[in-house]
């Protein structure tokens, strides 16, 4: 009891006294600490029971019965500023993650940032990998036009462990525009699904290195990026492919993207490539999307076309998606979204589905084989994105 009251007196009381409302979140300790958050409440339903539609390879998805945890999430962030050049950020995210089928809360971001001179920033700790145009803010629904990023493109990157390491970023002003170059290094992770049991395990991706270039041209932004890293592959891989030196496997991911917002016309597009140094036949794939919309006051109707295809003669399943949606900025800190998608897997297992399986027996064992979808699937999404 004594301890609690002491904590209250020394920490909580001045916090309450000095708190003030910020534009986003609440400021404490003379604006040195900011607490803010974001979230999405969403429901998805499809017209098919052939497979469950998933956003990011979760263990469960939507079919003819609605699923409310595909996109729903809650992020809480605490940012502390020690000086004008030193700050720390911690962000927790509650969501249904890769291969899991229930909500879990984890510290997704935890880093220290130093900005010694104008334009230069160095971060160390844990943060998201910037593998796409909006990869690090894709969980913040409110920050984006769409209900969810095109899975044909954003689902292509196999690295899902974020980055544990550091990055150095420098913004170079060029007349009224700017070029920001970011170099990063560290460790990430990918999900390995056991061939026999179907059980998912996280495995390390070491020596992750990436270069990211962003041109900020006032009403438009261009982005070019390349990442590579050495995945620690399951030893079973070497047994299946004895002719490959899988210990030297290099995973490569490249992307180009642009976004523009001019006279209420919004256009955004990206093209990405996934490659492997030893096993292109298994993972080589290209993805693209283009989205266009027109802002009418608080309404932003949009249309999107996205596609994923096998590359380098690989066996990656294709998928094509035509989406129509509406973002409505109904409240000052919340947006309502509707999105309908027509997804064609071209009679394959596709990219976004938890497929039905059949058990294949072989001498001494068995494995689960995913079944293809025989018809295109239409999905319906309604969501509310908010920030505070």
């Amino acid at each position: 009891m004594f301890k609690t009251s002491k904590i209250f007196r020394t920490a909580l009381a001045p916090m309450i006294i000095s708190s003030s409302t910020a534009a986003l979140g609440i400021d404490f300790f003379d604006d040195r600490v900011n607490f803010s958050g974001f979230g999405t409440v969403s429901g998805v339903q499809t017209n098919s029971n052939e497979g469950e539609y998933r956003r990011e390879q979760q263990g469960k998805g939507a079919d003819k019965s609605a699923y409310f945890l595909s996109d729903s999430n809650l992020g809480l962030q605490l940012t502390g500023k020690a000086t004008s050049w030193l700050s720390a950020t911690v962000q927790s995210l509650t969501e249904v993650r890769y291969t899991e089928d229930e909500l879990s809360t984890r510290a997704e971001w935890a880093f220290i940032k130093v900005t010694p001179i104008e334009g230069l920033s160095i971060r160390a700790g844990k943060f998201a990998l910037p593998n796409f145009l909006i990869s690090d803010s894709r969980k913040v629904g409110y920050a984006n036009t769409w209900a969810r990023p095109a899975n044909e493109v954003y689902g292509l990157d196999l690295l899902n462990g974020g980055l544990e390491g550091g990055d150095i970023s420098y913004r170079i002003p060029v007349s009224d525009y700017s070029l920001t170059a970011t170099l990063l290094g560290g460790k990430s992770a990918f999900t390995d699904t056991d061939f026999f049991t179907g059980k998912a395990n996280q495995r390390d991706v070491n020596n992750v290195k990436a270069l990211n270039l962003v041109w900020d041209g006032d009403w438009y932004t261009l982005r070019l990026g390349h990442l590579r890293g050495n995945p620690d592959l399951n030893p079973i891989f070497a047994i299946f492919f004895p002719d490959r030196d899988v210990s030297k496997e290099m995973y490569k991911f490249s992307g180009f993207g642009f976004t523009m917002d001019y006279n209420d016309i919004v256009v955004q597009g990206e093209a990405v490539q996934r490659r492997s140094s030893t096993s292109n036949d298994l993972i080589a794939s290209d993805g693209q999307y283009i989205m266009g919309g027109y802002r009418i006051d608080t309404f932003l109707p949009y249309l999107q076309y996205s596609t994923r295809k096998a590359a380098e003669k690989s066996g990656v399943a294709p998928q094509k998606n035509i989406a129509v949606g509406l973002r409505w900025d109904a409240f000052s800190s919340a947006a309502i979204k509707f999105q309908i998608e027509h997804i064609d897997t071209k009679d394959t297992t596709g990219a976004s589905f938890k497929n039905r399986t059949t058990t294949i027996l072989f001498p001494g064992g068995s494995f689960e084989q995913a079944l293809p979808l025989t018809k295109p699937v239409t999905t319906f999404t309604t969501s509310i994105d908010f920030v505070f």
Partner: protein, 140 residues
Amino acid sequence: MTRITRTLIVTSLMLAVNSAQADVVVIVNSNSSISNLSVEQVSDIFLGKSSRFSDGSQAVPIDQAPDAEDAGAFRDKVTKKSASQLKSYWSKLVFTGKAQMPKQVSDGKEVKTLISANPNMIGYMDSKLVDGSVKVVLSL
């Protein structure tokens, strides 16, 4: 004729009132070494792209609440984004730890009170509020 004259007088009066409302100036502390800023420089500071003035000193932007009159004029002429576009823009930066949204106060008087006491701050307000405690660096 009289009707036309009357209409003209009323219209010009309305225009005069409108332009008076939109007479917003960007200000810094009177002791600041900064004397002139371009719309682009102010926009960069208020959009989190730049955190320092041209002389290398720290720049701390002070915004007004989105529904404040000056805030509308400032958005039209400087950041060129609607209130919801700005919030969406900032949520992208804030939740990736890239920048913190400017502090918001309710009106121009509060902006002046803060800026007259802090040489690093920059804000905007109605030109009628200008006095010796602040310096105008840009007229909108």
